[in-house]
Amino acid sequence: MTPVHPPRSSFAPALDAHLVVDRGDFVLDVELQTPLGVTALLGPNGSGKTTALTALAGLTPLTRGHVDRGPARWSGDGVHLAPERRGVGLVLAEPMLFPHLTLLDNVAFGPRSRGMPRAAARDRAREELARVGLEQLARRRPGEVSSGQAQRAALARALATDPELLLLDEPLSALDPDTRTRTRADLARRLRDYPGVTVLTSHDPLDALTLADQLVFLEAGRVTQTGTPADVVARPRTAYVASLVGLNLLSGTLVRERCVTSVAGTTDVTHRSRTSVDEGWTVRLAGSSLVLAEPPAGAGPGEQVWATVNPEAVALFTARPTTSARNLWQLRVDSVTVTGQRARVHLGGGVDLVAEVTLGAVAALGITRGQQLWAAVKATEIHTYPA
């Protein structure tokens, strides 16, 4: 378990939690120390993101551990503060606005529940609706507004109680792509003004990268990687994280060699290998190897390293190409997925690689499943870092 250290680690964490929830067939065990600002929990379905969030809210009781918000203990050592007595705001994938109340009364619900007089609560609600651009729709019922507007109202409702901890569970996942883009921008703007701690879950890296100050990756109930977005993008440490940030992640042993070999097992005697034979650094993979342009900082020969390759840096050929790229493999096409104008070609049979090419390229190469292709990657496109 890697505790999350705040980027500016001189502060005491604003939120300090150790969440253990034992459901028998699933155990969540997560430590979170976050500063003020936005922390994103990312992970595949079933990784425990939502459980972690409901545990922070007090909706799921902890088997063990604690939740401290600043100096206040919310959970742990026999304490269990009911959700309504914690200062949390919760926004879910669906807005979950109360259908029998207007947007105004939905937003005023929290202040009213916390004892504010009706008129004051409505004033506060109007203010919050205005901050998300919905003041014109205050009198509407949830069924009479769009999904994006409803989600903004849900955010206004959660913030109207001045929560110390704002929890967003996949807040954009139920929106269509266009609405999601606009709502993401609204959310980012609103969160900048929010002074407390925000924890959001997502499986969309764009949410995390645009909204969060730090990322926490969960897989099977455990933290697998933490860091700032820049750090995580540069140095993913699990296959899931790498695929999320869109990179190929390979793991192997760093080797210093005089001679460069290719996957086919034949010595690749290109003009370059002759000129820089003394500088030959490779990563030995299972059954293959990667040629590097330069050695990784902080790692020596014989050590385990991670290597990432941007899918866009993988070039595909139907016949063996004449290329300056020092990494060349003949691979099998396992599958092709299309998003927008781009296609991702999943390759196997020696090295597991994903290549991202245009749809035009797919057509030109006549790519089909099971076909053999040549894949080339320049040594300069391979980034390595210590494991």
Binding site: A57, L59, E84, L90, M96, G110, S113, R114
Partner: protein, 258 residues
């Protein structure tokens, strides 16, 4: 031809509909329309209708006060005994009402589990009172309401409860400001069923509360008592009950039920 309009299905449906409508039509045919006013003026009619109005109203108030929280507990409790409680609540649905009346006597009668001490210590006797009528009606009507309302409460997304809790609403506030307003259609449907059941209650009432004009003789008991003495008054009373039921259910149907 669509399977739903096959002739055999239509014939069966027609027979079923006729079976329900024929006795109602026969009742209307037997009414002495010119003298209906006179028959309605018979003491048994006014007395029993007034008593039925009073007792079913009291029953509905109790049904709402007790049934709504009960339905909510059954809908949301994860306790392993909840399934048992859910099954037990429905027992009066299948129990012959007379047996219900006997059971009420065993509990609240002068020699009953609770009725005995109640009389010995406070001098309160329950059977043969209007209170006993309300209890008999409550006993048979409450399960109808609870089953209907629990169904719509269980269909209510739990995330509404969760969001309300994070907004600072305790369980009680959530219940009144979120749950109840959201299951109003279910409450209306359950109320209609429960009210109809309470209005028609006979077996448990005559067993537990007896039959005394103006005190425990509700409209169905009045029909039964009058049938052999003054059949036209019984028919007139039956027609009034039929009309009231049709109007109330009709209003509820257009207003609340699809």
């Amino acid at each position: 031809m669509a399977p739903s309009s096959s002739w055999s299905l239509r014939v069966a449906a027609g027979i079923g509909l006729t079976f329900i409508l024929l006795p109602l039509a026969a009742l209307l045919l037997r009414v002495d329309w010119p003298d209906l006013g006179t028959h309605l003026a018979a003491p048994v009619v006014g007395q029993s209708l007034r008593l039925s109005a009073v007792t079913t109203s009291a029953t509905m108030v109790l049904v709402w006060l007790l049934g709504t929280p009960l339905a909510w507990q059954l809908a949301r409790s994860d306790h392993r005994l909840t399934a048992w409680a859910r099954a037990l609540v429905t027992v009066p649905l299948v129990l012959p009402p007379v047996v219900g009346g006997v059971a009420l006597l065993m509990a609240w009668g002068r020699r009953g589990v609770l009725g005995g001490p109640l009389e010995a210590w406070f001098g309160i006797t329950v059977p043969f009172t209007t209170v006993a009528v309300v209890m008999a009606e409550l006993f048979v009507a409450l399960p109808f309401y609870v089953v209907a309302v629990e169904g719509s409460m269980r269909g209510l997304d739990r995330r509404y409860d969760q969001v309300a809790a994070t907004l600072g609403a305790g369980p009680l506030r959530t219940f009144f400001t979120v749950v109840v307003p959201m299951v109003l259609p279910g409450i209306a449907a359950g109320s209609a069923l429960a009210w109809a059941r309470a209005l028609g209650e006979f077996g448990a009432t005559i067993t537990f509360a007896g039959s005394f004009p103006g005190r425990t003789q509700t409209a169905p008991l009045g029909v039964y008592a009058a049938l052999e003495q003054d059949p036209q008054a019984a028919i007139a009373l039956s027609v009034v009950m039929l009309a009231v039921s049709v109007v109330v259910l009709g209003v509820l149907r257009t207003r609340w039920l699809r």
